[in-house]
C-alpha cells in the first residue's frame, strides 16, 4: 500500500462542498422567508399566525427531544403558563405594552421550566417522560382550580394592545409581522444553538450519554439548560398565541397538547431544524380541514392513527426522509 492521499486537497474539496451546501441552504431559507412575508396577502393572517405559534412550540420541543434526546411529555405546561401569564397581565394592567406582557409570560414559563428540569433530570429515559407528564398534570390542576384562569371557560378578551406603545396590534397584518419576526428570531437562535459547541455536546448526549460523561462533561447542566431554553421558547409561543387569539384556555395545558407537539415534531422530522415547522404546518392544517368537513368528530382518532403510522413506517418525518432521499440521489 504505497498509495498516499493528498490530505489538503481532500480537505479543500470538503470545504468547497460545505460552502456550496451552505449557499444552497441560504437560498432555500431566503425563498422560505420571502414566502412567509408574502403569505398574509394570500392566506388568512390569523390562521398563519396559528401555524407560526405552533411551529415555534414544536421548534422549542425539538431542541429538547430531537437534539438532546429528552422526551418531555409535559410541554403543554409551558405553553399554557406563558399564555395565562401574558393574558392575565395584559387584561389587568392596561398600561402594559404587549411586548412586555409577552416577555413576562416567557419569563414565568422559563422559571417553571427550571423547576421541571431540576426535578425531572433526576430520573432518566422512560421515567423522565413520566415525571414531566405528572408535573404538567400538577400545573393543569393548578390552572383548573385557580380563579384567574376562568377555569373551564378560559380567559377571554385579552387585549392585543400596542407594540412598544405605538404599533396597533389589533390590525392583523401588524400582528402577523410581529409574530413572524419573533418566530424567525427564535428559529435563528435555535439554529445557532444547535450548530454551536454547546449544541454539539447536546447531540453527543443524545447519541451516547455515558461517553459524554466519561469525556468530562457535566451532562446534567447541559440537559437542564436545554430544558430551560426549550421551556422558555414554548412559553413564548404560548404568550404570543394568547395575544393572537385573545384567548387562553385549559386546552393548552392538557396532556393532549403535549402529545400534539410530539406528533408535530415527529411528523416533520425530529432532530432537523425545519422538521418541526413542517410538522406543525401539517398538523394544524389536518386539524383545520378535518374540523370543517364530514370527519370533524374524527380528528382525535385520525391523529392517533397518524401517530401510529409515523412511528411504524416514517420515523424520520417529512424533512428527514427528504434529506435521506437527496443524500442518496444527489450526494
Amino acid at each position: 500500500m504505497s498509495q498516499s492521499f493528498d490530505s489538503t486537497a481532500i480537505h479543500q474539496a470538503i470545504l468547497e462542498q460545505q460552502k456550496a451546501d451552505g449557499r444552497k441552504k441560504m437560498l432555500l431559507n431566503a425563498v422560505l422567508v420571502l414566502l412567509l412575508v408574502a403569505a398574509p396577502f394570500v392566506l388568512y393572517p390569523v390562521f398563519l399566525m396559528k401555524i407560526l405559534c405552533f411551529a415555534l412550540f414544536a421548534v422549542a420541543f425539538n431542541l429538547l427531544f430531537g437534539f438532546t434526546g429528552l422526551l418531555s411529555f409535559g410541554h403543554a405546561a409551558f405553553l399554557a403558563t406563558g399564555g395565562y401569564t401574558t393574558g392575565y397581565l395584559l387584561t389587568n394592567l392596561s398600561w402594559l405594552s404587549t411586548e412586555l406582557g409577552i416577555m413576562a409570560g416567557t419569563g414565568v414559563a422559563t422559571l417553571l421550566g427550571l423547576a421541571f428540569a431540576l426535578l425531572s433530570i433526576r430520573r432518566q429515559g422512560i421515567y423522565f417522560a413520566m415525571v414531566t407528564l405528572a408535573l404538567a398534570q400538577l400545573v393543569f390542576f393548578f390552572f383548573v382550580q385557580s380563579e384567574f384562569t376562568g377555569g373551564e371557560d378560559g380567559m377571554h378578551g385579552i387585549p392585543r394592545g400596542h407594540l412598544l406603545g405605538m404599533i396597533d396590534l389589533s390590525n392583523n397584518f401588524n400582528m402577523y409581522y410581529f409574530v413572524l419576526a419573533v418566530f424567525l428570531g427564535c428559529y435563528l437562535l435555535v439554529q445557532r444553538i444547535v450548530s454551536s459547541p454547546y449544541g454539539q455536546v447536546l447531540k453527543s448526549i443524545k447519541q451516547n450519554e455515558p461517553r459524554a460523561v466519561s469525556l468530562g462533561y457535566n451532562v446534567n447542566r447541559y440537559k437542564v439548560l436545554a430544558f430551560v431554553i426549550s421551556a422558555a421558547l414554548a412559553g413564548l409561543a404560548g404568550s404570543m398565541k394568547s395575544v393572537v387569539f385573545q384567548l387562553a384556555s385549559l386546552n393548552d395545558a392538557h396532556w393532549h397538547m403535549s402529545g400534539e407537539v410530539i406528533l408535530m415534531t415527529l411528523v416533520g422530522g425530529m432532530g432537523t431544524l425545519l422538521g418541526p415547522v413542517v410538522g406543525a404546518t401539517f398538523v394544524v392544517n389536518v386539524e383545520y380541514h378535518l374540523s370543517q368537513g364530514a370527519l370533524r368528530d374524527w380528528v382525535d382518532p385520525i391523529l392517533g392513527g397518524i401517530f401510529i403510522l409515523v412511528v411504524l413506517a416514517f420515523r424520520s418525518g417529512f424533512v428527514g426522509e427528504l434529506q435521506k432521499f437527496f443524500k442518496k440521489n444527489l450526494g
Binding site: L71, S120, R123, M130, V131, L133, D300, G304, L312
Partner: protein, 295 residues
Amino acid sequence: MSMIFGVPLAVLSGQLLIGVINGAFYALLSLGLAVIFGLLKIINFAHGAMYMLGAMVTVIMFDVMGVNYWVALFMAPLLVGAVGVLIEYFLLRRIAGQDHIYSLLLTFGIALLMQGVLTNIYGVSGMRYSMPDLFKGGINLGFMFLPYYRAWVIGIALVVCFGTWFMIEKTKLGAYLRAGTEDAQLMQGFGINVPLLISLTYGFGVALAAFAGVLAAPIYSVTPVMGSHILITVFAVVVIGGMGSIGGAIITGILMGVVEGLTKTFYPPASSAVIFLVMVVVLMFRPAGLFGKEA
C-alpha cells in the same frame, strides 16, 4: 360521635375506605405496567385505554348480550388481553429493535386512537352499569357503613395482586419472566420461545388493566376518557414506588390511595394534586423511588 382531629370518625373512615379502593386500582394498574416494563422495557401509554376498554366491554356486553358481571370478570380481561397480544404481535414487535421512546409513542398513538373512536361512538357522558344483586347493600361496622361491593373490590384486588406476585416470584413461568428481564438473548439460547413470552406478557399486563376496568364499571362512571386521567396518576405512583419490585408497586399503589383519601378529608382542594406533590418530594429526597433499584 367520636371525632379525630376535628373530623367525625365516620367521615374519616369513609374517606379512608374510598382511598383504599382507589389505591387498589392504582396497585392493579401499576402492577400491570411493572410486568410489561420488566420484559419489554417500555411504558405502556395505552394502559389507561386498556383499563377503559375493560370497563366499556363489560357494559357493552351486558347491554347487547346480557352478559352478567361474573362472566365479564373473565371475558373482558381475556378479550382485552387478546387485543394486547395482537397489538404486540402486529405493531410493537415491528419496532422492537428501535429506541424504546418509539414504542412508548406508539402506545400513546394507540391510546389516542382507541379513546377517540370510542368517544365518537359512545360519547363522553357516563354509561350506567348496575352492580350484581349479590353486592347490593352493605354491613354496618359500628363506626362506619361498608358497602359489600367495596369490600369485594378490595378483597379481589388484593387476591389478584398477591397471585401475580406469587406467579412471578415463585413459579417456573415467573422464573422465565425474571430471566428474560435479565438477559432475553441468553434465554432464547436455552430454547425458550422469547417472542411468545413477550406477547403473552404484554397480553397479561393489559388483561390486569382490563380486570381493574371490570371492577371499576359498577362504581365509577364508565366513559371512553376514564383511562387517561387515572393513567397519569398511576404514572406518578410508579415514579414514587419505582418499578424495581412487584411488591413495591402494590404497596405504593394502596399507600397513595390512602394518602389521597386522607387529603380529601382534611384539605379537599389538594386531593387531586397530592399524589403529584408526593412525587415531587420523593424526587427531591429519594430520586430512585421508595422501592427503586436504579440510581
